[in-house]
Amino acid sequence: MNIFGEITCYGQCLRLWAPIVALTVIISIALIASSLILKNPKKRLQTFAFAQVAGLFSIAMTFYLMECSDMLSLYLYFAYVIISTALIFITLRHYDRLMIKRLEAKPAGSILRWTQEYVDMLTSARLYFFDSAVPKAFAAGRSIFISIGLLEILDDDELKAVLAHEAWHIRHNSRMPFLSRLALMAFSSTCEPELENQADYFAAEIAGFAALSSARNKIDKVFI
């Protein structure tokens, strides 16, 4: 039986249940769409997780309703795996671009030229400053983001330590992209402290331990 045969057969098996299966599929698609639109990162993750649950639920229903053939549910499952993996990879790939837009981040070179040059020495990444008084720094994709609030409180050596720390994250991401992305997919954060420590070792080596620890002291919110 080819796939079209399977679908026709599936339609015959379902009948009564078809609207309910269709509804869960629609809910799942709507949730994915809203997770792309929502601004609050926590809500985005939640809607994305619920979309996955709804998708899996519809597949499970298909599986139990299929009396004539199990192949279609397998096809559906593979389609689901491929689509959601692709979605996750695309989102992670373009996450920095999303962040640039959302934070209205500006290239660092236009405000403090040496910072971009310093990052270029350590790794290939773009450095951006974003408008917030809250001291924060993080790396996403191949971009490093630093808030103006952080620039305000750090002197040059401390800023170098922070840049080295984030540059290590970028290096690490490009060396082991698959593993860290898988960890992200599983929403696990078990290895984070270990990653942060390694990033700190690197930063201390590059910018000196004194600069790193005084930067750490100033930022009571740990930079990610």
């Binding site: 405000i111 008084a133 809250v134 620039l151 009571d220």
Partner: protein, 119 residues
């Protein structure tokens, strides 16, 4: 809160309409005009960790503006109040009067005139 949707009548002074930190920041800006972040933390005596998020919120809500300055390679924010104290007072008063009229209609207006006669 900055949005004025939660007014706490029993609080004191500006904290009826703003959080204590917001009120402290606004008071400082009204008396000094332009201020950097470190001047603000010094004047209000509130640590940066508490002030920073509030400053972002005040900027977002349109009560203050800020610009980045680059002085000898040091980047810093300079804050400025959008409304003067009088303008803020008139905005808040209008909002509260509006909500009273919306709730009580002509009764509220009658009480306004009684109130101003008494004063």
């Amino acid at each position: 809160m900055v949005k004025l949707d939660q007014i706490n009548i029993s609080n004191d002074g500006l904290t009826k309409f703003f959080s204590p930190i917001e009120a402290a920041i606004l008071r400082a800006l009204w008396s000094e005009g332009e201020m950097t972040t470190s001047e603000l933390t010094g004047k209000t005596n509130i640590p940066l960790t508490s002030v920073a998020g509030t400053l972002d919120r005040l900027v977002k809500a349109g009560y203050t503006t800020r610009r980045t300055e680059n002085v000898n390679g040091r980047v810093r924010y300079v804050y400025e109040p959008v409304l003067s104290e009088e303008e803020a007072a008139s905005e808040i008063t209008t909002k509260i009067l509006d909500s009273l009229v919306q709730a009580f209609g002509p009764l509220a207006v009658e009480n306004f005139s009684k109130y101003s006669d008494k004063k």
